[in-house]
Amino acid sequence: MPNASKKIAMGTAIALLAAAILVFPSVAPNPYILSSGVLVLNYAVLATSWNFVGGFTGYISLGHGALAGLGGYATALLVVKAGLPSFAALAAAALLVAALAVPLGMAALRVRGASFVIVSIALVLILLLVFQSWASFTGGSRGLVVPRPFDLSRPEHHRVFYYLFAGLLAIAVLAWWLIDRSRFGLRLKSIREDEDKAEALGTPTFAYKLIVFVVSAGFTALAGGLYALWFGDLDPVFQFSILTGSYLVLMALLGGVRNLFGPVAGAILVGTALEYFKVEYGDTPLHLVATGVLLGLVVLFMPDGVLPAIGDLFKRFGRTRSSSIREVTAAELAEQRKAAV
């Protein structure tokens, strides 16, 4: 039963991944490494959230950084200006951004391909200008300080948020899986394959794209809001950066957009690499060059991502073992001998 063994392999992989993620804070040698772990998990949630749109419908958004930024600022402002408790503010912020995603999606999802990419970039740039200029409300370039939700030491603070991000990641992955196996998901994927054809088969493509965009925006905002509560300081330049969206695209593509854990794997690889490059090359733009090279390599040599590439490798080995040319000729020889007798 190849199906059963596939399920066991999948289950083992998930259990290993979960164990590795859960054990990390205990083995992290210092708070700095632990905080890098929080960042990587934040990327994993963001990349998985991005993949609700990118993976299912094939619409490549570079604007998801802006949705995360909105989630961050909404959470922070609800705490600072409205005096809401931190996590109530987080939930309210996610709902607000999801609601805002309805008109945003209605505007952006009218266009396809490169045009959609450009519209999504425009979203980031517009919000960057707004949040920088509207200093009386957002704090502008001076930044916005977000009060911490817990009174903890720095290492403990990182540890708690590490697990909060891990929990959010589990929910996002579960939601993606639920859609992936559903009729809704299959029809979404048919939009990715051929949107007009899907429409002609009776799929209300626009409504489907909008629903999944709103879900994606909600999860992205949750990640952004949680980041704001963790990091405690927001600056429009970093919150509304095209780089964030580009990193998410790189992570999702690198890991594989058709795979449940593709974006997570990509986030772990790219996130770790980014942190490493930043430590090694400090403030030089070399980490950007490295990111660009990585993206180029992925697109050229692993267009489906790392996970499928590894899967293909296994398949190739498996096939040679099960039906090599030698075995076939041996069987034929036996046949010939039988026929001769």
Partner: protein, 238 residues
């Protein structure tokens, strides 16, 4: 009342593709739409199925006005279509291609036993059940045409519009497609077929509409169309 259009017009820039096409197709029959290249047949299909909006005129189906409605609404009203250059979902398996046409969405599993059985029965009927697990992009042209048809039929349309079902298909498969259309018609489905292969058109059609320069110039059963002078003129450029 079956599928009908009234004074349908569509121009692309200065080119008039449809010039007041008033047509009524016969319900429960195999209808064919023929005409020389550029006579507006595909534009007509696209206007009827909502892929493009006509400049003026009306499309009605079973008494309902479908003019300018979104393609998915028209599909759900019971009109299924294939495309001239056959279109499948290339990176989905044959089975998924057919399942993607299940009329309802929702968060229920896409692989329910009933859905899979029904999808497999269509694949079997079209003779490509052995390819259920293959991705569409790995299939041959003919197999993809059969797959596209299986998907359309899965959506349970009462009327099926086929844009050149015989295009690029070998003679053996052509026979099979012809027989299949007659069988599906006998089960109660209405067909409207755009086709250049006159042998196929003449052998399977009950009713033929001939287009020239964006409007019908003749209609009737094959025996009448075969000897119509206007039709010969349009085709031969006399």
């Amino acid at each position: 009342m079956s599928l009908a259009t009234h004074e349908l017009r569509k121009a692309f820039g200065g080119v008039t593709a449809l010039d007041g096409a008033t047509v009524e197709f016969h319900e429960g029959k195999v209808n064919a739409l023929i005409g020389p290249n550029g006579s507006g047949k595909t534009t007509y299909f696209n206007c009827v199925t909502g892929m493009i909006k006509p400049d003026s005129g009306r499309v009605t189906y079973q008494g309902r006005d479908l003019t300018g409605k979104a393609p998915h609404r028209i599909a759900r009203a019971g009109l299924g279509r294939t495309f001239q250059l056959c279109r499948t979902f290339p990176r989905m398996t044959a089975l998924e291609n057919v399942l993607a046409a299940v009329p309802r969405g929702g968060l229920r599993s896409a692989g329910s036993r009933a859905d899979i059985e029904k999808a497999m029965s269509w694949l079997t009927r079209l003779g490509i059940e052995h390819l259920a697990g293959s991705e569409a992009r790995d299939m041959s042209w003919g197999q993809q045409k059969l797959l596209e048809l299986a998907g359309v039929l899965m959506a349970e349309p009462e009327t099926v519009l086929l844009d050149e079902p015989a295009g690029g298909v070998n003679p053996a498969l052509l026979d099979r497609i012809g027989t299949l259309i007659r069988q599906l018609n006998a089960e109660g489905r209405t067909f409207v077929i755009v086709e250049h292969n006159m042998d196929l058109v003449m052998s399977i059609s009950d009713h033929i509409v001939v287009f020239d320069r964006g409007r019908p110039i003749a209609e009737g059963p094959p025996s009448v169309i075969r000897s119509d002078e206007r039709v010969l003129g349009a085709y031969l450029g006399v």
